[in-house]
Amino acid sequence: MRLTAVCLSLLALGATVAGCGTSNDDATLTMGLSTAPTTLDPSLAQVGWLVNGPIQLAYEPLIRMGNDGTLQPAIAAGWKFVGSDNTKLSVSLRSGVKFADGSPVTADAVVDSINHIRKAGGPNASAASLISGAKKVDDSTVEVTATAPVPNLPALLTQSWLVGDVISPAGLAAGDKLATTTYGAGPYTLDSSATVVGDTYTFTANPHYWNKARQAFKRVVVKVITDGNALLNAMKSGQVDFAGGDWAAASSAGSAGLKVSGVGNYFAGFFIVDRSGATSKPLGDVRVRQAMNYAIDRASIAKAVYRGYGRPTSALTSPGADSYGKAVTEAYPYDPGKAKSLLAEAGYPTGVDVSLDGCKIQLRNCRLVQQAMIDQLAKVGVRVHPEFGADIATYTKMSLSKKYGLVYMSYGTSPFNLMHTSLASMLVTPYNPFGDSIPEVTALVRKADATADTAERNGMYNRALTTLTEQAWFLPAVNHDTIYFSRARVGNVPDRYGAYISAPDVTQFTAHAGSQ
């Protein structure tokens, strides 16, 4: 009798569990995330990770950045700078666009949304702070003003930087609920009933979406699978259609029939943040910092750690970025002999000791790069003493504590004025905790920002980057792709993405006809 009771409860359990299963039909796209999004609120979301996938699904930006890097009209039908100093952008709004709740997207709603995000103080604060305000010009025109010349102001209004994601008036009034529900005008809308926060987010097509051509799926399910192997297994067995992957798994995924694509824009290495020698006197000497740059065998690390998806680089720029130039990326060839002699020249023939705010979490192979670099630095006499924070928050706090000469670098390519703001302006950031800056570099960047001509502007950015690289403020090793796997049924997945794309925009994918 007792056994029967057990069996019955087991059956009951089975029924509940079965109810939670996700069906994987043609109309559903299932994407995998390795980290749970901390919030669904665009004003508080992190920039640049696939983690933003859920937000991209639900929020329509003013301007959409295509996966190839081009800027495409979205809620904004068009945009242009007013005047020639890149400070004022006039945006004309598309008519008839509605939020998922059916209310219209008005100029007032757009202005309120931009101003809300600007002031929210989220992780995106440094980019958002470049915008000083938005105001309604007429019912179909909004003017966005920057605090200083910002030549890439339109890019800030894309889904990549979130500032242009328009939140409905209801959403702005919703307070904390903004973090767990969606209030956008995007192609999909969150189905809270089929959502387990931190695990599964189910989105259904937004019936009011303005551009039916962009709604390739009826449903998009976002599953959080933190274990990389589990994620890959889920893809191999057909439970997930699209997800980020690991370099080590790329060949195995390829042979299992998954498409492997790389988004090429991350730098792995160290920031040499203590340029005045506060934590370790030798770091104040440019020759020591240069010696460290000569000590790194970038090609070997790229090959061993990123397996064909990484390129050696001496500078923080990628092909296609505004500051790119081949020369600066090859500024420091691998030359341990030169590294030693530079150290000796600087007065440290027996080597130097430096501290590192190291990387502990599983973040873009950071632990391997870090170990390889520590080993190579040790060979020329730079003894690195790492400490590790348990999570990104601790890691950030540690670097801001100004106790570390080096800070681990996992940083994506951005337009150069943004990179300059967070890396080399007076601003205190985890990448520049001492708030260092070089006045002539700052002046050069300011001048470039206000230059209308693109080629001329990019030349100036490259010169500024070259100076920072010559001063050896950074110790990058590899410019690497992040890897994404997709199943054959997902179409329109580009082989290469645009330079500033840090994570694919899944709303641009299509359902591959006849596949599966």
């Binding site: 973090a179 767990t180 297994n233 889920a234």
Partner: protein
Amino acid sequence: MRRVIVKRLAFAVPLTLLASFLSFVLVALSPGDPAVTILGEGATPEQYAALRSQLGLDRPLVIQYGDWLWHVLQGDLGRSIITKEPVLSGILGRATPTMSVIVGTTIVSALIGVAMGIHSGVHGGVSGRVVDMLSLVGFAVPHYWVGPALVVVFALGMPLLPATGYTLAGLVLPVATLAISGAAAIAKQTRDSMRATMQGEYVRALRARGLPERRIVYRHALRNASVPVVTVVGLLVVQLLSGTVIVESIFAIPGLGGLAVASTQQHDLPMIQGVVFAFTMVVVVVNLGVDLLYLVLNPRARVA
């Protein structure tokens, strides 16, 4: 029976309080900052400070704990600092998968373990040795080893079962992974107590009354041998609460173990408190269940 329930429940109150207070203090004293988790790496120190004060994290610990407790007493477990999700729904959403894994593992482990234990305890000899050996291997082989191996064989090699996810079929592999060691522990205990019970005088007397051996083993000896086995099963359930972390990770099951790890790393105090609360409740309920089972199984415990 009522005495036992009242005693256990009375015990549960201070236990819950102390457990929640200890975990609150421990986590609060550890480094890490939800403000940084929320704002990311790019905010200014002033912004962090403002958020911390908005979240009430700048108040003295005792006040923070008292505030939490006050709300709990009113039935409000609060919201996650990070995701803003209500703690209660977060816990409930995660508890179902974890509890299904635990319940499944417990049932499978108990069935297999008891069967193996009976066999070894009653028959001994070579088969007993084999059971001993199997249970040792089950104990020694790490979950992170068995889990992936099972996935490779049953999910990728011959796609019988899903590799990940929380579905009925998806529970098979995680439960199998955990049940290997669970069954091992139960088999060991069952064998030992069956062996002792089968030497009991009443077993000899039952045999002398001509009762079938099966009846003696399953109706009489097993029931008397089951008290220590129930204890081990109870301990297994409690250990599985934390023990599922690895399996949840391997099979991508959204469970309490993963929630405990994530919320600890994010310093999400309300959520951690919720997890600890849930754990404590499970411990209390399991202990109560074990006590009640004792009463059912052992008439001598009933009067006293």
